[in-house]
Amino acid sequence: MPAPSRARARGSGGITGGTVNVTANTGTISGVLAGIGAADVNVTANTGTITGGANGIHAATLATVDNAGTISGTDTGGIGIFAGTGTVNVTANTGTISGVLAGIGAADVNVTANTAASRVARSASALAVAA
C-alpha cells in the first residue's frame, strides 16, 4: 500500500491560509499538493472541482464539507479530504470524494448525508468511507 500523501498547509495549493471558507465553488480549485490547504477548511457549497496531487482538501485541524461536485487527491497515495489527527465532517455529499489511496483520511470522520448515487471512494485503504 502506498504511503498517504500529506500536503503542506501552505505552498503549492490552489487556496492556502489559516482558515479557508469556500462559500460557493462552481469552477475549479487545484494545486500540485492540495486544492485547499489550511488549518480549518469549510466548503459550504461545491458543485465544481477541488483537486490536488496529494489532497483535494488538506485541513490540519477540521474540514467541514458540503459537496455536490468532485473532490479528489490524484497522485499515488492521494486522499480526497485529509485531516490527519483532526476531524472531517461531511455534512452532505451528492458528488464524488475520491483518492488513489482513500476518499477521506482523518482521525475522526463523520459523514452524515451521503446519497446512494454518490461515492466516497478509495482504492486501497481502510481510511475510506464507502457509500
Binding site: 503549492s12 469556500v22 465553488n25
Partner: protein, 75 residues
Amino acid sequence: MRTAARASAPPPIPAATYNIAPGASLTGSFIGLRFADGTVNVKDNASITGGSDGILANTLATVNNAGTISGTGAG
C-alpha cells in the same frame, strides 16, 4: 535621562474584498493573490494562478469561485 521612543504597532489591516471580473486573469510567479483577511469573488471564466499558491491568506480567506484558482507548482 533619555527615554527610548517606542514604535507603535501598526494598525490592523481591515478585511478586503477582491472581485475578479469575468474573463480576467490574475497571475503571480509565486502567489496569485495574497492578503491577511479577505473575501475573493472569482467571476465566470476568471482565473487566479500562482507558481506556488493561487490564493494565500495569512489568516482567513472566504472564496466564492466560478472560475479557476490554481497553484501550479512552478514557483
